[in-house]
């Protein structure tokens, strides 16, 4: 007989991935709720975000949670430079977020509007050419530990 919980526990996925943070003691103090919005990219960043949910990264242990609406979010992550049609939606999402909030920008290609020209407020991180889960996770933990100063 094959049991999910036993199978799952025996794998110890989260142990396989060692991730060093600067100050591990404060890890559980602040949780960070993240809403990500697809700027209209190819799906690369979306798939990377999806693979962040892998038990290996053990996201919740760092107090990072994905939400389904910007109204519950601390950080809005904009994945890739937005298309013209996505711009009003991003602005609406930012206007719905409770303060204090932060905006994190990630870009992976040279298609779409320039982030610099959008004049977005409260930008807490801007990742260029970093599209791997480890890089994104590192930045998110930094934001969570540093607290949002906006």
């Amino acid at each position: 007989m094959f049991l999910w919980p036993i199978y799952g526990l025996s794998k110890k996925y989260s142990k396989k991935f060692e991730f060093k943070t600067n100050n591990s003691k404060t890890v559980f103090k602040k949780s960070l709720h993240v809403f990500f919005i697809d700027g209209g990219s190819d799906v690369e960043l979306l798939l990377e975000f999806y693979s962040l949910l892998s038990p290996k990264y053990n996201l919740h242990a760092y107090g990072i949670f994905f939400t389904n609406t910007p109204r519950h979010a601390d950080v809005l992550v904009i994945l890739s430079r937005p298309t013209q049609k996505m711009l009003p939606i991003i602005q609406e999402a930012i206007s719905q977020m409770p303060s204090p909030y932060g905006v994190m920008l990630i870009e992976n290609s040279n298609i779409g509007l320039y982030f610099e020209k959008l004049n977005l407020k409260n930008v807490v991180a801007h990742l260029k050419n970093v599209s791997e889960p480890t890089g994104i996770l590192k930045k998110l933990i930094e934001i969570a530990q540093g607290g949002l100063i906006c």
Binding site: I89, I90, A93
Partner: protein, 616 residues
């Protein structure tokens, strides 16, 4: 009695000055208030007045405790309706004021009649004046005739019942009617038609929605009260077990069916119409349980069920009047029929109409401490005591009635939430037609206040009606403020204490809400786009899940762009309609076709038959 004379005087004055609508309605208000006082006076010391017409045939009017209770309830509602009509009546013709006065006058005589003749005359006048009142709106002939057909059906049954008595005792007075089973059966059937009990409810949906709203309120509350009064009267005269069982079964079925139909309905007035069916079903069922308990010598349960029936009447009358008055206000302002098109009554039309709908809706959904909560709690408590019956058959019937009624309460709450949620609390911007609304608002606010106050102070009503043994004070509640459902104590409730605690908590919640100024208010997140007008979740969406699950009962048919479902009991009448049409076609073609020979043959045949009968 002075108040009685005053009432009659006011109504006659009201009819006389029909050319001045406002004045006429003011007299109607005064008359209705006088009638309420007649009720209060009559409850303490009833009166009776009798005249001999000829040869031992006497007519009589009077007020006893039963008619006094009904007078109070009916005329409190009438007062509000008349007050409401002062402004609302400006939208309709002068005859309406005349007819409303006439209806009130004749209904006073219905409640006070002590003999069959007075009763029937008053009853017919009420029916006919209501028929003309329904006709106040154009294109309502079909609906008005449907109403008349059912009313006259009821009249015919009552005439048969009275004829049976007259044949038996040669007297028209009600006192003589005790212990006559056949009379009780026919009168019972006649009155439950007036109560719109299933399956005689099919006319109400269309008629209520066609009639002007104040008339719909009369049809829904005082008119069905006539039926209820009649059934109470019949049961006080003849304590038949068979009729009690029929009452429980029909009442429970009616409550269930009405609630079931209100769950799928999306028309603004049809939904409350089905709610009327449901409430009258509950009244009938609780009265039946009371009779069964009396028969089984369970006197405490019998008293409690009887009290429950009265509470249900009060709850239904007050809440439904409030609801119809508010709906009428909104409907005339917005000129729409569908619940979907009437969004935002609270915001756009008026605070009092929206609040009236909300309060009456909450009352029907049994939210404490409103009167609807008290009455439905009492009903369930009395049905839960079915285990006390010795007879297994009674036990079974009352238990199943309890199941059906519990389902009905749930379903009706579902339906009423749809009505209130989409219309009163909904969101929609409409073009608004201004109507004069001072007395309309006044009437709505008075009735809303009554719904709340009668719920909170329901123990005072119990006290007034003289059922002191259902009042107690335990669990920290002071003496008369706690209502109990049986002795020894079975269940307790105290809407009064609830109101105090709730008010206390509400005060602090509001304080907290207004002191917190940092709250950010934004529109809902709908994928980042603005919500469009045609993207609102509609009433069909709300009730489709019920329609789909119960598709066998509703005969739900899913079409490309809409869903069809209907009240199956209409099928019976459609069948009857076709049958009668064919029958009349046959008669006119073969018998009454204008051929002289047929008529002569008929006359001769009748002559011969008569000869034989009288010879024998």
């Amino acid at each position: 009695m002075l108040t009685f004379d005053f009432a009659i005087l006011f109504f006659i004055l009201g009819m006389a000055v029909f050319f001045n609508k406002s004045l006429s309605y003011i007299f109607a208000v005064l008359g209705a208030i006088s009638c309420t006082f007649v009720g209060f006076e009559g409850y303490i010391n009833g009166f009776s007045y009798q005249i001999n017409v000829f040869n031992g045939l006497s007519l009589s009017i009077g007020v006893d405790k039963l008619s006094a209770v009904f007078l109070i309830i009916a005329y409190v509602c009438f007062s509000a309706i008349a007050l409401y009509s002062i402004d609302f009546g400006k939208l309709f013709s002068k005859t309406m004021s005349f007819l409303i006065n006439l209806t009130m006058l004749s209904m006073l005589f219905i409640f006070c009649a002590k003999d069959a003749i007075t009763f029937l005359v008053a009853f017919e006048i009420t029916n006919i004046s209501l028929f003309f009142l329904i006709l106040e709106k154009s294109n309502s002939y079909k609906q008005a005739y449907k109403f008349l057909a059912f009313s006259e059906g009821s009249s015919v049954l009552l005439m048969i019942a009275f004829a049976i008595i007259f044949a038996h005792s040669g007297n028209f007075l009600f006192q003589a009617y005790r212990n006559n089973y056949l009379f009780a059966l026919f009168a019972f059937l006649g009155f439950i038609i007036k109560m719109d009990i299933v399956p005689t409810h099919v006319w109400i949906g269309q008629t209520y929605s066609k009639a002007p709203s104040n008339i719909a309120a009369i049809l829904s509350v005082p008119l069905t009260l006539v039926g209820t009064y009649g059934v109470f009267r019949v049961f006080s005269l003849e304590k038949s077990v068979f009729l009690a069982i029929i009452a429980v079964i029909l009442g429970a079925l009616s409550a269930f069916w009405g609630a079931l139909q209100s769950a799928r309905e999306t028309q603004l007035k049809t939904l409350p119409a089905y709610s009327t069916v449901e409430n009258n079903g509950m009244i009938l069922a609780s009265l039946g349980v009371s009779m069964l308990a009396r028969y089984s010598n369970l006197n405490i349960l019998a008293d409690f069920s009887y009290l429950t029936a009265i509470f249900l009447i009060i709850s239904h009358s007050l809440s439904k009047t409030t609801m119809f008055l508010s709906i009428g206000h909104a409907k005339e302002t917005l000129q729409k029929e569908n619940i979907d098109d009437l969004g935002g009554i609270l915001k756009n039309v008026s605070k009092s109409a929206g609040f009236g709908m909300l309060i009456s809706g909450l009352s029907f959904s049994a939210v404490p401490p409103l009167i609807g909560f008290v009455s439905e709690w009492m009903l369930l408590e009395s049905l839960f005591q079915s285990y006390k019956f010795q007879d297994n058959f009674f036990k079974l019937i009352v238990t199943f009635a309890g199941i059906l009624i519990a389902l009905a309460i749930g379903l009706s709450s579902f339906g009423i939430k749809k009505l209130v949620g989409f219309s009163s609390l909904g969101k929609s911007i409409q073009t608004i037609k201004k109507i004069p609304d001072f007395t309309i608002k006044l009437a709505e606010n008075l009735m809303s206040a009554l719904v709340i106050l009668s719920g909170i102070f329901s123990f005072l009503i119990v006290f007034y009606l003289g059922y002191n043994n259902f009042l107690d004070g335990i669990l920290g509640v002071p003496k008369p403020a706690l209502m109990v459902s049986s002795r020894p104590i079975f269940g307790v409730v105290s809407p009064f204490m609830f109101a105090i605690v709730f008010g206390f908590l509400l005060f602090f919640t509001l304080l907290l809400k207004f002191s917190n100024k940092k709250t950010k208010t934004v529109t809902p997140w709908v994928g980042g786009l603005k919500l469009k007008e045609n993207e609102m979740y509609n009433t069909r969406g709300y009730s489709f899940i019920v329609e789909y699950v119960l598709r066998g009962i509703y005969r739900t048919k899913e079409k490309d762009t809409y869903v069809e479902s209907y009240d199956v009991s209409n099928l019976i009448y459609q069948g009857l309609e076709i049958l009668f049409k064919k029958l009349s076609c046959f008669l006119s073609k073969y018998i009454m076709n204008g051929n002289l020979n047929y008529y002569i043959a008929y006359i001769i045949a009748m002559f011969i038959i008569a000869l034989f009968i009288f010879k024998l």
